[in-house]
Symmetry: C2
């Protein structure tokens, strides 16, 4: 059942953003109440679509006055139920806060509205002679505001760090109604607390981000991709650690196993690119042709079973394709539970073996698929043969992660899905501090109340 909204509150929202941008028809709002996987489905009395920072401030003021809860929503590409109205909240869509607002080519800073798709940010950076340091598969629909609110990771973290490392400042409206205005912030500015940084990764619980200012990275146009075969995940981790030091321009180091390679090959109607227990795909992006340096660094590694090198575009894409097709291939197996964890480098290899064993023991019929970002310790653990929210799988996988000093959420966030696990990783002191900060920034608890804390 769709939750209701008092006439006075509805009128105030219309006043804030205009009648055309307060959507209440259930058919029109349907796309806003469910996440893209269909796992998280809620209901909303209204979707509001402010066009400016001031309109967002007006919506927050209405929410405070009428005690309405708000869920900020960007591309809605999340995986943890953080951007859908699971408790009947009003949805604040950032769709109209879109567009690249400015590119300062001299200092390498880019400013964009929160609703701008990541791919448009990347394009604008390239057009100015720079690059943006973050890339993810959902680049065409994920928004830059959502990226900042969730501290998005992705494929290039090993080279440039997560979204937080790209962030110069944001414009945002806090739950108190206060405006954070760091869009004019410069690279060097030490004038009090980093409110923008605090908003990064806060999953919409402290403020609504309306625009962001990002630090770009230099464009390194010469690229080489190498696919390497290893006998074990532990051997692959060791090799990637060496490659990172030998190749300062290493931009990605991804891995998957033989089972995943076969699954993908079956899905694509091809054969695996690499015939080895573990495949590692490495990309190096340099300002001058890196082929010789890469060959030398790979030649110095131990335990390499196979090497494939690609310098031109189509062959690079061919080496990447299996890795990029894994999620799609796993979906063809049937319902599955997605977990996204990170481990210390010295635990990664053993974890990959142990998690498969423990899941197999605990859940008969379950099968574990592992792939991920080896350079930064982030593994995606997908378990087929179970429902997407199977609690036993959570217990086994996340329990093992905490045993091995890892993180229960490497890049997907906490959302509603992992709320019960947050305290187990961060501890009571951190939870109490986060609650106090939330009370300072959103004392009425109107922003994403079902998420995180």
């Amino acid at each position: 059942m769709t939750p209701g909204l008092a006439p006075a509150a509805l009128a105030a929202l219309v006043d804030a953003v205009g009648a055309d941008h307060v959507l209440t028809d259930a058919e029109v709002t349907a796309g806003h109440v469910v996440d893209w996987t269909g796992r998280f489905r809620g209901a909303t009395p209204a979707v509001v679509r402010p066009r400016t920072h001031d309109e967002v401030a007006a919506v927050v003021a209405v929410a405070r006055a009428h005690q309405l809860a708000i869920v900020p929503q960007g591309g809605n590409t999340g995986l943890v139920g953080g951007s859908v109205p699971l408790a009947g909240e009003v949805v604040l869509s950032t769709a109209r806060l879109a567009g690249v607002l400015a590119v300062d080519a001299a200092s390498g800073h880019l400013t964009a509205g929160a609703g701008t798709p990541l791919a448009r940010v990347q394009d604008a950076a390239r057009a100015a002679g720079w690059a943006y340091g973050v890339d993810l598969a959902a680049r065409d629909s994920a928004t830059i505001g959502g990226n900042v609110a969730t501290n998005a990771g992705g494929l290039r973290v090993v080279a440039h760090g997560p979204t937080r490392a790209q962030l110069v400042g944001v414009a945002a409206v806090l739950g108190t109604g206060a405006t954070v205005d760091d869009l004019g912030r410069l690279e060097k500015d030490v004038t009090g607390y980093d409110l923008s940084g605090l908003l990064c990764g806060s999953e919409g619980t402290l403020g609504v981000i309306t625009a962001v200012r990002l630090r770009l990275v230099p464009a390194r146009p010469e690229r080489v991709v190498v696919a390497l075969g290893f006998g074990s995940m532990a051997g692959a981790v060791e090799a990637v650690g060496r490659l990172r030091r030998a190749l300062p321009d290493l931009e990605a180091a991804e891995a998957y196993g033989a089972a995943e390679a076969e699954l993908v090959a079956g899905h694509l109607g091809s054969v695996p690119v690499v015939d080895a227990p573990v495949t590692v795909v490495v990309e190096v992006a340099a300002s001058t042709d890196p082929t010789d340096g890469v060959a030398e660094a790979v030649g110095a590694l131990d335990g390499v079973l196979e090497v494939h090198v690609a310098a031109d575009g189509p062959r690079r894409a061919a080496l990447w394709r299996p890795r990029e097709t894994i999620t799609e291939a796993i979906a063809t197996v049937g319902p599955h539970h997605k977990l996204d964890v990170s481990l210390p480098a010295d635990e990664l290899g053993d974890f990959a073996v142990e998690v498969e064993r423990r899941v197999g023991e605990a859940v008969p019929g379950a099968r574990t698929w592992i792939f991920g970002h080896l350079g930064d310790g982030n593994l995606h653990v997908n378990v087929t043969g179970v429902e997407p929210d199977d609690a036993t799988v959570d217990d086994v996988v996340l329990g093992l992660v905490l045993e091995r000093r890892g993180s229960i959420s490497a890049e997907h966030g906490i959302g509603t899905a992992k709320r019960a696990w947050l305290g187990r990783q961060r501890g009571d002191d951190a939870l109490a501090t986060m609650r106090a900060i939330r009370a300072a920034c959103d004392p009425d608890g109107i922003l994403n109340p079902a998420v995180l804390l």
Copy 2:
């Protein structure tokens, strides 16, 4: 007069860290009550020197129980009076929280006690085949905990960002007594608010940082230094913007004027390296010899009056020497007021001309010296012929900075010196939010109460 301490409070401090590490003798504490420039001098009833995180927690507990104010103090190399007991606070020295605790060579993370000098962090990173992304002139005495607490900038920000961009996590004791324990944090970890990031740049007002975990950068061993002459600061800014895009491995871009070059040459008994209105020193650090690429990029610039290239160590040092000697040379002129500001790239050139004109008009006999980090918009404005805290100079220089959308503190912080200016840059909303966050983390106001807010 040295402020007193109630016997019960003194006994509790002794209980917390041991009698040998509660220093009360004024002769012994003398070095802790004044900053290195002599501009900020206070008094303290005691200097405590905890050795562990738990001992810091015990000191904070005593401070809360006895309502003592604390000033955390690292290398005491700051310039804004942020680490000396100006209001009779107890000094918490991090001197014994020193040492590199761990280097994870595979993932490129380094963990060190707060009291570890920056230079030791740099050395340990190099020994593990990595580099640390921040460098400053005070590297031998400035501590890594102080660097994080003040979000230190320095010479490499153009390449690697400020200290905040290197930070993975900290261990800290908040004013509430809560422990932040992010020392085990991994590169990818999206589990709630970034408490470590919030502490970075908070100048000791939210918590006492006891240890830090840092992200290292790849070592790029091949270096070239180029000194270039330009006709104006505006031309130099334009050229540096182009060089940053053409040379992804550009690691520093510093500038000074002809008057500064002559002052330094007089001090060193030599002649200026470059005979031009503005000198720019650029360093490129790459994995393979960057000389050809640098020559090509410099050749494509407009308005270059002179070029000097150095690839070997001694010649590189010779090109750097004037820039590194400016502070020392200015000190020989007499008392002076140091300001540290940043400007948008498109304002830098005009600002440099205008600030000299306005200071000259407002303060007869004053002389302005300008140098700094051109790649990141950070200029050090030194005014001789006035006292170090001349308010007219503050009004003229910082007023102009705010007119031109700059920052009143690029890397020195706010401390006590610029407190009156914080609100003028950040605005009422940001100040109110900072106060609310401070109340959440340090409700009794025991940590650095005279600083920032």
